[in-house]
C-alpha cells in the first residue's frame, strides 16, 4: 500500500503580528510550523501503515524553507518526502496549487501506484479547505472529507470503510480505492518521534522537484497566471485596547487586595450596584 500525504508549512498563526504602521502581516521572525490539520491526516496515514504495511510519502509545495515541515514528517515516521518548489509557483491560489499537487501525485503514482491520498481538512493560513477536494477532482479520486475514523481497510477488494462527520450525525461510508481523505481535527494525536527517526529526519536526502520534475508542462495553469483569485485588500481588524492600570496596595494580603480592587471598581463605575441588582433580578 502506498499513501501520499499532502502537507503545508504555515506561519504559526498564534504568533503572527501585524505591522503597526503599514498594517501588513510581518512574516519575519514568525516561526513556521506544519499546518496543524495536516498532522491529523499524517498520523492517520502512519497508523494505516503500522497496521497494514506499505509506504508513506509526504508531499509539499512551497518555498525551499518548507523543507523543515517535510523533515518533521520524516521524524514522525514517513518514508519519503518530496518538496515541489519552483519560482513559477509563486502566487498560486487553491486552483493552481491543486493542479500542481495533482501533477506531482501523478508522477509519484507512475513510480509507485498510490492507493490513498491524505490532505489536511484546511490550512490555518488560508482556511479555504479547497486544495484537498481540488486534487481529488483533478485525479478522479473518491473524496472523503471530515473523516473521524477509518474502521476498515480491505486491500484485497480495495475498499475502505470510515466514519464521516456530517451535519446532524455520522455517516458510515464504504468506498473503493484510490481515494482522498481529509481528517477531522482532534481525531487522533500525533506520535512522539523516536530517536532513530529524529536521526533519519536530520540526515534524510530530501527530494526537490521543480515544475518539470513534477510533470507540469502547461505553465498557464500554475502560479499567478493559473490563479483566478484576486486578493484586493489585506487589512487587520482593529483590536480594542483598554489601558491597564496598576493599583497600589500597601498590603499584599488577598483580602486587602480585593477590598482595594472593589473600592476602585465602585468609584469607577458608580452604577455597579444597580447593574448587579438588575442582572440578578
Amino acid at each position: 500500500m502506498h499513501i501520499v500525504v499532502c502537507i503545508k508549512q504555515v506561519p504559526d498563526s498564534a504568533q503572527i503580528r501585524v505591522h503597526p504602521v503599514t498594517n501588513t502581516i510581518m512574516r519575519q521572525g514568525v516561526p513556521a510550523i506544519v499546518n496543524p490539520y495536516d498532522l491529523f491526516s499524517l498520523e492517520e496515514a502512519l497508523r494505516l501503515k503500522d497496521e497494514y504495511g506499505g509506504r508513506v510519502t509526504v508531499l509539499s509545495m512551497g518555498p525551499p524553507q518548507a523543507e523543515a515541515a517535510l523533515r518533521k514528517a520524516i521524524s514522525f515516521g514517513a518514508d519519503d518526502a518530496i518538496l515541489v518548489t519552483d519560482r513559477a509557483f509563486a502566487g498560486s491560489d487553491t486552483l493552481a496549487t491543486s493542479f500542481a499537487l495533482a501533477s506531482a501525485i501523478q508522477k509519484i503514482h507512475e513510480d509507485m501506484p498510490v492507493d490513498i491520498v491524505f490532505a489536511g481538512k484546511q490550512t490555518i493560513d488560508g482556511d479555504t479547505a479547497q486544495v484537498g477536494p481540488g486534487i481529488a477532482k483533478r485525479m478522479d479520486l473518491q473524496l472523503l472529507t471530515y473523516v473521524s475514523s477509518i474502521t476498515d481497510l480491505d486491500l484485497e477488494n480495495r475498499e475502505i470503510t470510515l466514519h464521516r462527520r456530517a451535519e446532524g450525525g455520522v455517516q458510515v461510508l464504504k468506498t473503493s480505492l484510490p481515494c482522498l481523505i481529509t481528517m477531522l481535527e482532534g481525531t487522533n494525536e500525533m506520535r512522539f518521534a523516536t530517536l532513530p527517526n529524529m536521526f533519519r529526519a536530520a540526515r534524510y536526502p530530501l527530494k526537490q522537484w521543480d515544475k518539470d520534475a513534477a510533470g507540469i508542462t502547461d505553465v498557464s495553469k500554475i502560479g499567478l497566471k493559473g490563479s483566478p483569485t484576486i486578493v484586493s485588500k489585506v487589512f487587520a481588524p482593529q483590536p480594542k485596547t483598554i489601558p491597564a492600570e496598576i493599583i497600589d496596595c500597601e498590603s499584599k494580603q488577598p483580602k486587602d487586595l480585593a477590598v482595594t480592587l472593589l473600592a476602585k471598581m465602585f468609584t469607577k463605575f458608580p452604577n455597579l450596584h444597580e447593574d448587579i441588582a438588575k442582572a440578578n433580578a
Binding site: 516561526p31 523516536t194 530517536l195 532513530p196 529524529m198 536521526f199 536530520a202 496598576i246
Partner: protein, 432 residues
C-alpha cells in the same frame, strides 16, 4: 541505538554551538541535542555580541550572521527616583570596520550559528531532552533522551545545558544553585520603527547605543538595568540577585514596570509596541561558585559552569570560548588517540587557566560578596550623587562653596566617613 559518536554536545546555545562547530570542523563525529523547538527558541540574553570570541571560531561571521546594530556609544546611568547622573562615551572609531560589539536577537542569532554547526557536519536533534547521563562506573559513556530508543553513546559528553544544568546536578557534578549565586533578569523587546530609533538616540543606520543602569531602579537589590538598541526594536531589562528578590519580596515584572515608568526612561520607549517578555537566570556566583569542570568522559562549558563576568557584563563570549577550549581538548586527544579520561581532559582546565577566562574569573572573585553585604552601592550612593548634581546645577543665589559644603555634609550624614572610605577601599581591592 547502536550508532556511536566521538562527542555528544548537550545544548545549542553559544557554548554548545562553539563546541559542536569546532569539533565537527575538525572532522569529528558530533551529535548535538537541543531541548527547544529550534536552537535559540529557549535561549535568552540581553543581548550584546562581543566579536572576538566568535571571530576565533567563525572568522567570517559578519558575512551572514543576523546582527542588529554595531555599538558606537556606551552610556552609564546612576539613577535616583526622579533623575539620573551619567557618563557617555561615543567614538567615531567604533564606526570603523571590523566592528567590535553588536546588539543581536538570540532567537535569530542562535539559529544562524546552528546552521553553521550543521554545515560543519554535526548532527543536530531538536525537541529532545537528555534525561540522564549514561554511566559506566564513574565514567560518562553516553546520554539517555526522552525519546523511544533514546540511549546514545559517545566517547565524551559536553554539558552545555545552561544555567540550571539539571544534568550535571543529577549526576552529582555540582550542588543545587544557591539563590545568592544567580541573578534573575527580565527583559522586554519593544518594537519601534528604525527611523524613530535612529533619531531618538542620535545614531545612523546600523549604529547602536547601550545604556547600562544602576541605582534605585533595583530598589536596593544587587543588580543592574539595561537598554539596548536593535534594528527596529529596543530591549529593556533589569536583573537582580535571586536571593534579593526573595528577601525584598519584589516581583521581577513589578521592578521592570517601575523602571519603565522612570521619567528618564519612559520617553525613550514612547510609542513602542511590546513584542516579547522573557526571563532568565544568570549564573553570577563568580569564581567561588564554580563547579568542577571536567571528569571521566565529561566537561562543562558556558553558563552551566558559571562562566559569567557580572562586572563586565560578559557571558556569551565566555560561553563560546569555553566551548571552543573544550572542543580543542577533545580534538587534541583524538589526534593523539588518547582516551577521554579525567586526567587527559584536564587539559581543558589548563587552557582555561592560561587564558583570560580564568584570570578574569579570579580577578573578580570577591566582587559578589562586597556588593551583597553593602546595598549602599544601589541606594545611598546613587541618591547622593544625583542630589549633588542637582545642588550644583540649581542656580539659586547660593554661593558654590556653600553648595560644596552642603554636598559633603549630605554624604557624611548618610554614610560615615569611615564607611565611605571602607567602601572605596573594598571596591579598589575588588577591582585590583
Amino acid at each position: 541505538m547502536d550508532e556511536k559518536f566521538d562527542a555528544i554536545v548537550i545544548g545549542a546555545g553559544p557554548s554548545g554551538n562553539a563546541a559542536a562547530y569546532t569539533m565537527a570542523k575538525a572532522g569529528l563525529k558530533v551529535l548535538q541535542i537541543e531541548r527547544g523547538e529550534y536552537p535559540g527558541s529557549k535561549n535568552v540574553q540581553g543581548a550584546i555580541l562581543y566579536s572576538k570570541a566568535l571571530e576565533e571560531i567563525i572568522p567570517d561571521f559578519r558575512e551572514d550572521a543576523p546582527l542588529e546594530r554595531h555599538l558606537i556609544e556606551q552610556q552609564m546611568w546612576v539613577l535616583d527616583d526622579e533623575s539620573y547622573i551619567g557618563t557617555t562615551y561615543r567614538s567615531a572609531e567604533f564606526n570603523q570596520e571590523p566592528y567590535n560589539r553588536y546588539t543581536i536577537i538570540r532567537a535569530q542569532f542562535d539559529k544562524w550559528f546552528s546552521k553553521r554547526v550543521q554545515e560543519a557536519g554535526a548532527l543536530l536533534v531538536c525537541e529532545t531532552t537528555v534525561t540522564n547521563l549514561l554511566m559506566d562506573g564513574n565514567r560518562v559513556i553516553g546520554v539517555q533522551t526522552d525519546r523511544e530508543n533514546g540511549a546514545i553513546y559517545a566517547d565524551v559528553v559536553v554539558l552545555a545545558d545552561g544555567v540550571n544544568s539539571l544534568l550535571a546536578k543529577k549526576a552529582g557534578f555540582h550542588a543545587e544553585l544557591e539563590p545568592k549565586d544567580v541573578a534573575l533578569a527580565v527583559k522586554e523587546i519593544h518594537f519601534l520603527p528604525e527611523e524613530t530609533i535612529q533619531s531618538r538616540f542620535n545614531i545612523g543606520e546600523g549604529e547602536g547605543v547601550v545604556i547600562e543602569m544602576a541605582g534605585k531602579i533595583t530598589q536596593g537589590m544587587m543588580g543592574t538595568g539595561f537598554l539596548y538598541t536593535n534594528k527596529d526594536s529596543l530591549t529593556i531589562g533589569v536583573g537582580c540577585m535571586l536571593s534579593d528578590f526573595k528577601q525584598q519580596k519584589i516581583t521581577p515584572y513589578e521592578l521592570l514596570e517601575k523602571m519603565k515608568a522612570h521619567p528618564a526612561i519612559k520617553p525613550l520607549l514612547a510609542g513602542g509596541e511590546m513584542k516579547e517578555y522573557t526571563a532568565h537566570l544568570i549564573p553570577e556566583g563568580g569564581y567561588k561558585a564554580m563547579p568542577k569542570l571536567f571528569g571521566e568522559g565529561w566537561m562543562i562549558v558556558g553558563d552551566a559552569g558559571m562562566f559569567v563576568n557580572a562586572v563586565h557584563r560578559e557571558g556569551s563570549n565566555l560561553a563560546m570560548t569555553t566551548g571552543r577550549y573544550a572542543a580543542e581538548a577533545v580534538i587534541d586527544l583524538k589526534e593523539k588517540k588518547l582516551p577521554m579520561t579525567a586526567a587527559n581532559l584536564a587539559r581543558y582546565q589548563g587552557r582555561l587557566e592560561d587564558s583570560f577566562v580564568m584570570k578574569d574569573m579570579k580577578k573578580y572573585k570577591n566582587m559578589p560578596e562586597i556588593f551583597h553585604k553593602n546595598n549602599h552601592f544601589f541606594t545611598t550612593y546613587p541618591e547622593l550623587l544625583n542630589r549633588a548634581a542637582h545642588t550644583m546645577l540649581t542656580v539659586d543665589g547660593v554661593d558654590k562653596k556653600s553648595k560644596e559644603r552642603e554636598i559633603r555634609k549630605s554624604f557624611k550624614q548618610r554614610r560615615s566617613l569611615f564607611g565611605l572610605m571602607g567602601d572605596a577601599f573594598k571596591m579598589w581591592r575588588a577591582f585590583e
